[in-house]
Symmetry: C2
Subunit: 345 residues, 2 copies
């Protein structure tokens, strides 16, 4: 009996170890792959249970379920997100303009002539209304003076330094923390479902690349934005790319589908924006032969963030809001649809 | 005894099933992940055992081995490949020019004026020497007439149709089979080692995107090339991107690092080219702070492919060959280093 008992114990032990190994290996796969009978963890916990959330999840399900008539292969699951007002805040001014103004102040000692010369004089005097009154040309001069002349590596260092140290004038938060928690969850949820998530924004591509990977998990090659012209030359015996004071591509409005075609080369199936500058990107995304989802973030929360739409100078949402209504696009009401705005708040 | 024996059998059976499951799951992982003691399969079977091959494998090993001083994280493992003469052949003319000439002939019935009008007259008369004598401006007119006016979708259909049906004048092979087998292996080997493989070519980006995924496994967003300007407009109630007869970006020579910065936004660590048009891309790739590898394909095989370098009008390799010698770049001798040229040959 002893020998049988020993053999039995050994067999049970081997069986136990085998099962343990099998369970260890099989169960996580089963959990990850099979739809669970019990309630799965909510992939979008900062999104309230709303029509917007249901519509997003339903779209992801029908485009990623094999056998579904709307199934889209992983490589073609392209989702594009505007940045200003869609992934991070944009009030009281685009953060990149605040960066440019800070750069004017930092560079002023090397440019005594700026004390008497517009638009620099207004910026240095803190008169942003006077700057605004000079319109696009004033802002273009500020951008040219602060965003060109240096190499791409130098610009990256300058932008990274500012992003790491500057604080928002009213929230006092670092700008890179004024990103939207519900959108971080949406980006992660889409990536987990085989989507590639791109930024397609009017902002400068190199400015965004300086923080997009850390803030959003979006690497440089998945950032599409406005560009200055670059010139390849040799400085101190090394090849460099110098930023020229001339716009190569303005990635706004009709420029967004153009930027998408240049850099991605396929039509997205999800587009997320918040302003009329995103309208053509939303139209382009929903005009393909297959499924296409358009989402607009509507800033309705004056208490936790900002409330603005049709009359705003920054992030004006007017025509795109009308078209969203006509075409049944998802309009996310920030106040009602999002239970949190910023991370860790 | 029977009951014990039954229990023993059951226990052994469970153990066996458990072990089988475990083995089934564990063993393939172990095979895939662990370095094998036995000789691993050659990742580059169409590359002869040469210095070039050894240097490529050594570079991949030291940039992908954790703990190596030259270790590069996967996201930063960018490899860029020229297309014409590097991934596929380029003689007796760039294949895209042959496509353009075929398009002139196909469109000629709609353009009776071309019979009397240069450069079309020369093309329609089969006098390519006369076309060449008209220089860049003649070719630019051919490209404008055949590559613009249509939407991006329409152009993709036209290019795809030609690529699927046209044959090379001397080999009689479809152009998409005149791709280099050793380079297909190198692309696959790099991707297996966590590299992202891009095309960075003077060819038209949309022309290359029409076949790059099928031929090389390179998706549209990983193709960088020359571009025409696009215009977003509405045709028949649908938003479209129309190709304009105007160059937006010439991705050749100093334009290659520019195209890389625009679209990828990080410096590659491997660059592969075959002509002076690749020189700046090779310089840029090897000028970073970390490791950088430059590879030049030298066309030395008049029997199996073509032999040309310093004096060639197409794919001229002169300055880059001198610089390769000075700087110890890898120069692949097609005749000696490659045991095969095209797939299935």
């Amino acid at each position: 009996m002893r020998s049988i008992s020993t053999r039995l114990s050994s067999a049970l032990f081997i069986g136990f170890v085998g099962l343990l190994l099998a369970a260890h290996l099989v169960l996580p796969l089963a959990v990850a792959e099979a739809p669970q009978a019990a309630a799965p963890p909510d992939p979008l916990p900062s999104w309230n249970q709303s029509q917007s959330k249901q519509a997003i999840i339903a779209f992801v399900n029908r485009t990623t379920t094999e056998g579904s008539p709307d199934f889209v292969p992983p490589g073609e699951r392209i989702a594009v997100f505007d940045n200003d007002g869609t992934l991070w805040a944009e009030q009281p001014a685009y953060f990149q303009l605040i960066f440019a103004i800070d750069r004017v102040k930092a560079l002023a000692p090397q440019h005594p002539e700026w004390q008497q010369q517009e638009p620099f004089k207004s910026v240095l005097g803190g008169d942003l209304k006077a700057l605004a009154a000079q319109g696009q040309s004033g802002i273009a001069q500020i951008i040219a003076a602060t965003h060109s002349g240096m190499t791409t590596d130098e610009f990256n260092a300058i932008a990274s330094q500012w992003l790491a140290t500057a604080h928002h004038p009213t929230t006092n938060m670092p700008y890179t923390q004024m990103i939207y928690q519900p959108q971080l969850e949406l980006l992660a949820y889409l990536r987990e479902n085989g989507f590639t998530t791109y930024i397609v924004s009017g902002g400068g591509v190199e400015f965004m690349r300086a923080f997009a990977e850390q803030a959003y998990g979006i690497p440089p090659e998945q950032v599409v934005g406005s560009r200055v012209k670059y010139k390849f030359e040799t400085r101190d015996g090394k090849p460099v790319l110098v930023r020229l004071p001339s716009i190569d591509h303005l990635d706004d409005g009709p420029g967004k589908p153009v930027g998408i075609q240049q850099q991605i080369g396929r039509r997205p199936i999800i587009a997320v924006g918040n302003s009329d500058g995103d309208l053509q990107m939303l139209q382009w995304t929903t005009a393909g032969d297959g499924p296409g989802l358009a989402i607009i973030v509507h800033h309705t929360d004056a208490d936790r963030e900002y409330a603005y739409d049709r009359e705003s100078h920054i992030g004006k949402l007017d025509k795109a809001l009308d078209e969203a209504t006509q075409r049944g696009w998802i309009v996310v009401d920030m106040k009602d649809d999002w239970s949190a705005i910023y991370p860790n708040n």
